[in-house]
């Protein structure tokens, strides 16, 4: 059954996976090669530009995760999960099959980014104090993609009722946040929550930090 689900998912998403892989392959190459001609005379400026390009790696990971997760569950949601409920497997096992097949689909994107990073940094005449991080960048991109895929997958696999509850909880939180801001302007619940999510050991902490393919 695992293979069958993988085949179905591949048929549904192959064009998306290929498009995302091309983008992942091109990103490091474009980011390095666009500014490399000027780097010989102004390497600090090149590194600054590269730092700005680093913003696109987590964005690409987020877009890839969202597209693949939604693509995986598109048919099930359209059919109100009837197909899944008819299968002689438990819900949890079915979700696991979907998840593991999704992991297979994100692998080409990570591999493409890794190869792109290797191509981009190959043959650069860098000063001795500068280091390149194609492997670490690919690993970080892979982890970020895995994490964000987990988020998007959990959201996309949830029932309409669960999503409704989640949206109501979020709305309630925003109302409480506004009320607290009005009563005590120095307390910003939204900011505190976002900070907790984005800093260690928050779930989004892996997205922060340095996204530098070339650095000191």
């Amino acid at each position: 059954m695992q293979k069958a689900i993988l085949r179905i998912q591949w048929k549904a998403c192959w064009h998306l996976v290929i498009a995302l892989s091309v983008a992942a392959f091109a990103l490091p190459i474009v980011s390095v090669r666009l500014g490399w001609h000027a780097a010989e005379s102004n390497l600090p400026l090149f590194l600054t530009e590269l730092q700005l390009w680093g913003f696109f790696y987590p964005v690409l990971a987020a877009v890839s995760a969202l597209i693949i997760a939604l693509g995986i569950w598109m048919s099930d949601r359209r059919g109100n999960h009837v197909y899944a409920l008819l299968l002689p497997v438990s819900r949890a096992r079915y979700v696991w099959y979907r998840y593991s097949a999704g992991l297979v689909l994100i692998l080409p994107v990570i591999a493409a980014m890794w190869i792109g990073a290797l191509v981009a940094t190959h043959g650069l005449d860098l000063p001795p104090g500068i280091r390149i991080f194609p492997h670490a960048m690919a690993a970080k991109f892979g982890l970020a993609l895995l994490l964000l895929f987990g988020f998007a997958f959990a959201f996309a696999s949830a029932s309409s009722r669960t999503i409704g509850i989640a949206i109501r909880v979020l709305g309630l939180f925003l109302v409480v946040h506004v009320a607290v801001i009005l009563l005590a302007p120095q307390t910003n619940l939204l900011w505190i929550t976002l900070k907790a999510l984005a800093t260690w050991p928050g779930p989004l902490s892996a997205l922060g930090g340095r996204w530098m393919l070339i650095d000191a």
Binding site: G129, L143, A154, P203
Partner: protein
Amino acid sequence: MRNRIILIAAALFCSLAITATAQQANAWHDSTVRLQARARLLEDSLMTGDSAATEVARRGDLVIAASPRQQSIAVPALDSFAATRQRWFGSAMPSPSGFRIAVQVDGGGRRWDGGTPLGNAAVGVAAQPIGSIILAGLPDSANAVRRLRSSSAADVAATLIDQYASLMLASDTVLTTWLENPPAFSVMMKDRRHRAMYLFVTGTGAMERDCANGDVASCSYALDLEHAPAARTGSIYSPDLRTDLLYYALDLGGAGAWTRLRNATGPAMPAKLAAAAQMPIDSLLARWRTSLLVLRPAKAVLGGESALVALAWSVVLLLTALGASRWA
């Protein structure tokens, strides 16, 4: 007997006359000192446009005066200044006559030097002076070096130390020539070593590359401490990096480093730096290079902790998905 009385009377008269002359001379001297002090105050008030500044505090050979509204910020500024000065320059003065730095404090409004982002026409309201602070290093005689600057109240301490450091660097011609155009002290000290590390490792010239690779002679050429041989031409490190080396040497040398730098025999810059750091110039350059290279990011792109956290949260999200998918 009569002659003796006349003699005694004459002697008494003469002694009184001498006393009177001495008193007059002392009075003249006091008067001259008072006049000099008043002239300096007048000059300061003309410089700052503020005649209400009065002495607020003294710390050793430093005196600070401020207009009434600025007195509350003058004392902390003096303390901050005194601590920073002691740390980097000891008790040295930019000139034997002392120094005087006058700061026109403004309300912190918009300030510009000439043009604006919208063109040459001035737009907005200029910062209005609201008082002044005058810092003097004693003896503060007539030949003391002087500076006048404008600053917001929050930046007074930084302005004072910037001007003092600038006066100190300008007091040595060899140093001035070598540093060319050093950055302001407060700007320099803000994340100084991190910025220096990036400037060091991103040098693309041949000598800079050799220096980063560990060739101390190339460091000497790249830092313009020695003239490179004709065969070894190429770009050299910026004044920012040279200034970092100077402060690194002062830091390494500890107490009295600046005095040793000033008093070093021989006009060459390497001798001054070596005297400040109390070690041979090659050792100083090697230590400086190592100190910069160790500042490179240790974690680089991905840390082990972050990786573990990401994996752990992925498992949590998977378990959430397994539990949240109750469609019917």
